[in-house]
């Protein structure tokens, strides 16, 4: 089992969801986060005060999958999120120790799908 965490541009969320559904990946957790990568932070101006390095709004996806779903999930995220510009984000893949479905108390690969 793997946990896939992706940081993407907020304006690509709908495309990523669409391509995940097309890849039959239907379980997803989404949160709004702040951060920046190599594109650097934004410059904002308030009454002439220039504020550099402000953190940018990003979307963080968390998807737990069985091993045979990892490739297609990653491909779907890339397909949805990629614009070719700085700031498109990153995908992290972690090993996942355990997964328990609260409703049925099923464990492991059964609980993920």
């Amino acid at each position: 089992m793997k946990l896939i965490v992706a940081i993407i541009q907020p304006f690509r969320l709908e495309e990523v969801k669409q391509s995940l559904y097309e890849a039959e990946v239907q379980l997803i957790t989404v949160s709004e986060v702040l951060g920046h990568g190599r594109q650097g932070g934004a410059t904002e101006v308030y009454r002439g005060n220039r504020e550099t390095g402000n953190l940018l709004r990003k979307i963080r996806l968390e998807i737990a999958v069985n091993d045979d779903f990892v490739d297609r999930t990653v491909r779907a995220i890339v397909a949805g999120a990629k614009t070719g510009e700085l700031g498109d984000g990153k995908i992290f893949v972690y090993n996942l120790e355990e997964c328990i479905r609260i409703r049925t108390e099923e464990k492991g690969t059964l609980a993920i799908g």
Binding site: E44, Y46, R47, G48, N49
Partner: protein, 423 residues
């Protein structure tokens, strides 16, 4: 004989000015601070409405506007304590453009009350995010008597030292704007900077924009009500107010665009407020062309002051109460000495029938008086506020602790917070 038409307009104007303090100023300021301090700013405005309203009917109005001379030219007496003996049928002893149609004396009292309410609330912007609530409360009570009431008496009351000489201060360029601006500067200097390394960005500029729009709306009462009549002078002041605000807001936004690359909403609304401030002393004395000149000047000068000059001084006037109200207040009070034209005021028989003229209409003496009143107001506001702050500091202290400042004033001063994250 009371004019019911005039009375209706001035009562509505009083309500419009109340709306400027709460919610307009609370929103304007509240949006500019951190999430953890938004309630403290709204509370400071609200408590001005609560406390000053009571002090005003107790003794404030009497000291400011009664014909007594506790200190000749500066302070009235206690004859109207709790509005003693003032009947609803009594005509106001104060008239401006329609001497034959006075409003009820009680109408004048509540109208003036709202000016006294909003002025300390404007000052609160300079103290944002670091002053104890108890200190602000003590400040606003003392300051009303030490600074506001003497200045209101000097500029507007029957025996006022400047009123008697024919000072042009239609709606409070000295009493409200210079006063709040220079009091804010004195307060910011004594209080010191916020500890937060990064006071920006504002937590919600939509509040600030809404607050500015409501201030503009309320300012029609502030300025067009100050002729105390529902007549042509009210219409003229109304138009001058709208014109100056529009010109200053546009000037600031365009300067942003040319010099900072983008036009900002915060710049446009800040400029508009500067325009409303600058036209306050002048609204009933200048033509619409004069209002346009004043508005453009205020937009440009306040922009230059806030964006370029303020940073070099190193004081923390958190929300630019001085940079907008102090600077534009001086510009307006001096500007009306240049631009006043009897074309506006003579038809109403004002100033003995000859109307009010400024330097450009051949009356250089007008400018000298405006200058003297400006200087006096600055001195009274600045040093009066220093004295009040010294007293508050010596008794209960001014600032919250470092930890309280970091946690925010909402939770540490009021035990509540504005927003929840979950449910």
């Amino acid at each position: 004989m009371i004019s019911n038409a005039n009375n209706a307009w001035v009562l509505i104007s009083a309500a419009l000015i109340m709306f400027m303090t709460v919610p307009a100023l609370g929103l304007f300021y509240g949006g500019l601070v951190k999430k953890k301090n938004v309630l403290s700013l709204m509370m400071q405005s609200f408590v001005c409405l609560l406390v000053v309203s009571l002090l005003w009917v107790l003794v404030g109005y009497s000291l400011a506007f009664s014909p007594g001379e506790l200190i000749p030219g500066v302070l009235g007496d206690f004859r109207w304590t709790l509005l003693n003996g003032i009947s609803p049928l009594d005509p106001s002893p104060y008239v401006v453009s329609d001497p034959k149609g006075p409003v009820s004396h009680l109408t004048f009292i509540i109208f003036q009350c709202m000016f006294a309410v909003i002025t300390p609330a404007v000052i609160s912007g300079a103290f944002a995010e670091r002053m104890k609530f108890s200190a602000f409360l003590m400040f606003s009570v003392l300051w009303l008597f030490v600074v506001y009431i003497p200045l209101a008496h000097m500029a507007w009351s029957v025996h006022g030292v400047f009123a008697q000489q024919g000072l042009m201060d239609f709606a409070g360029g000295t009493v409200v704007e210079i006063n709040s601006g220079f009091s804010a500067l004195a307060g910011a200097l004594v209080l010191g900077k916020r500890r937060n390394l990064k006071p920006l960005p504002p937590h919600d500029l939509t509040y600030t924009a809404m607050g500015a729009a409501m201030l503009w709306f309320g300012w029609f009462g502030f300025n067009a009500g100050s002729g105390l009549a529902a007549d042509g002078l009210a219409a003229s002041a109304f138009l001058a107010t709208n014109t100056a605000a529009a010109a200053a807001g546009l000037a600031w936004a365009l300067l942003d665009w040319f010099l900072q690359k983008k036009p900002t909403l915060l710049g446009a609304v800040t400029g508009a407020v500067a325009g409303l401030v600058v036209i306050t002393p002048a609204a009933g004395y200048v033509s619409v062309g004069g209002a346009l000149v004043l508005g453009l000047t205020a937009g440009a000068v306040c922009y230059w002051f806030v964006v370029h000059l303020k940073g070099r001084f190193g004081y923390d006037d958190s929300l630019d109460a001085f940079g907008v109200h102090g600077v534009a207040g001086v510009l307006g009070t001096l500007g009306v000495g240049l631009l006043a034209t009897p074309f506006i005021t003579a038809p109403f028989g004002m100033n003995g029938g000859k109307g009010y003229a400024g330097v450009f209409e051949g009356n250089p003496a007008a400018f000298a008086l405006q200058l003297e009143a400006t200087f006096t107001s600055i001195v009274v506001a600045f040093f009066g506020t220093l004295a009040v702050f010294a007293l508050v500091q010596a008794t209960i202290g001014l600032r919250v602790t470092e930890k309280e400042e970091a946690m925010g004033l909402d939770i540490t001063q009021h035990n509540e917070k504005a927003y929840t994250l979950i449910e």
